[in-house]
Amino acid sequence: MTMALRDIIRFSWSALIGYPTRTLLMLLAMAIGVAAVIMLTALGEGARRYVSNEFSALGTNLVIVFPGYSETSGLNPIAMVGTTPRDLTLDDAQALTRNRSIRRIAPINIGSVTASFQGRSREVAVIGSSAELLNIRHWQLAQGQFLPDTDLDRATPVCVIGSKIRAELFAEQTAVGQWIRLGERRFRVVGVMASEGRSIGVDVQDTIIIPVASAQQLFNSPSLFRILVEVKTRAAIESVKQFTIEILKARHQGKRDVTVITQDAVLTTFDRILATLTYAIAGIAAISLAVAGILIMNVMLVAVSQRTAEIGLLKALGAPQEQIIRLILSEAMMLSVLGAIIGLTLGELGCFAIRQAFPDLPAYAPLWAVATAMAVSLLTGFVFSLLPARQAARLDPVSALTGK
């Protein structure tokens, strides 16, 4: 005495088709709810991935050392005078290579000089570093070679130039092999950097890279700006950090005057903040799904009162109460499923549009958000149509038939 599932679906489908305005309204509400969850979480997740990509562009398993250390936060004029940091030197950098967990290091020196070639000249940012910098920062070369892999203290007069500088100084000419003037010194161009996106802090395209010893001569200063340390494994990062602090303390007469940060720690913090943000956004969007659920309840209540006579007829034809409940529920569930599918499509299209508009932002909705949106929409559809379904089932057939 129970209706076949196929017949239930066909009957509910005919009811949905039979009242197009109501159906479209409910589909819209459901679809907007689902699409909102998907797009908002995609934005949150995209922001998280964007930041995390930016950080990994800095290099992987990176420990960054820079001079100066303040033990207390807040400004203390006496302490500031007392802790004028010792310079971070090339010897400090060399000392670090003794640790077996360290894969490679790159000392960094920066400054700004006038670069000129055949009468064209401009101010450029100069980075002094070593051959390892290329690998640590995951940069790519467009032409030629990177800095030669020699001893750190050897001031070879070579340089690698950014693509923008190449264009401005050389225009159509070949850059590699030419001599350019940086300040008072001459350097031979050995390579051109590939034109890639900027990574945090440095625009590679607008930079000239020279050996660190050459930079020390050029800027007339032995002090380093940073030391980049690449650790072999993620697990070793913390021990390398401690090792670095200890060894530099020992080299600097027992005074801790460097700051060591791990890219990992920064990344983890950002990751946590943005993930929390994504969950919060998802929660807010889920409220719109609940609103859609309430709309479903209202519209189903109207539907039941619109179709009182039909429900009375089904009863007269021998449909028990559970059958009526099943019919109304299946109608609401079909709406939910359809609405969820439309919402999923809209949401994914929206994410696609966001990715087109902001190519840097990897706005992909995480799977858990898609699954949750679908599940919540089905659940709200079910829960909020229980009341109308029960109301329909309890209709008195005689008054229902007469449309009262």
Partner: protein
């Protein structure tokens, strides 16, 4: 087949208690052809709904096929309606979005009959009602008479023992009304118990047994022993 004894049905209208049925005692045998007549509000439809298990008595006993159905749980009531009772209404009650054939098939669908088994039953019913060229039209594309024939086909598709018709000709013109009555009488000749509620004295007189109701009571119960009245 139908045994009603001391049936009362009260409604509350505001503060007022209205006796729609007042001590009804009625016995109907299988295969009878009965008309129920009387003024509006005399309880004709209430009696029909009660026999059809759409309504419940306030007090009294209703035996259907020797079984007490006075207070049956909803599910069993539904099964009984589905298997033994067919309804024909004044305003047809066809579902507007379904075709004639789909409307006719509805009781089978609700009872869970497989499509393969439904198909021959429905096409037979469509043929018998002379609706072959109308089977795939929706109700709004059918005339009143055709609609009522669809409704009768639907009411009889489960081969019920009892057919209850509440003013079946009320919304039809003379000619269509006569057709519908002819069909109902034909069904009665096949052994179905037919009970018609009507205002139309002409139609009411055709039944072999004629009940007349006033104020919730059966005022007269006449039998006409001539069979096969003038057709």
């Amino acid at each position: 087949m139908i045994e009603l004894s001391k049936i009362h049905r009260d409604f509350l209208v505001g503060e007022q208690r209205v006796h729609a049925l007042d001590n009804i005692n009625l016995s109907i045998a299988a295969g009878e052809y009965i008309s129920i007549m009387g003024p509006s509000g005399s309880g004709k439809s209430t009696l029909l709904n009660l026999i059809g298990l759409l309504d419940r008595a306030t007090s009294g006993t209703y035996l259907l096929n020797q079984k007490d159905v006075t207070v049956l749980p909803d599910a069993q009531q539904a099964v009984t309606r589905s298997k033994t009772i067919g309804f024909v209404f004044q305003d047809f009650h066809l579902i507007p979005r379904l075709t004639a054939a789909e409307n006719i098939a509805l009781p089978l669908v609700l009872a869970g009959t497989a499509p393969l088994l439904r198909e021959p039953l429905v096409s037979k019913a469509v043929r018998e009602m002379g609706l072959s060229d109308r089977a795939h039209h929706t109700p709004d594309q059918l005339s009143g008479g055709q609609r009522q024939r669809v409704a009768i086909a639907r009411a009889t598709i489960m081969q019920p023992k009892i057919l209850l018709a509440d003013e079946p000709t009320g919304n039809l013109d003379q000619k269509s009304g006569q057709d519908v009555i002819a069909i109902l009488e034909q069904l009665n000749r096949q052994g179905i118990t037919v009970i018609i509620v009507t205002h139309d004295a002409h139609i009411g007189k055709r039944a072999r047994r004629q009940l007349r109701m006033v104020d919730g009571r059966i005022e007269s119960d006449q039998r006409r022993h001539k069979t096969g009245s003038g057709e």
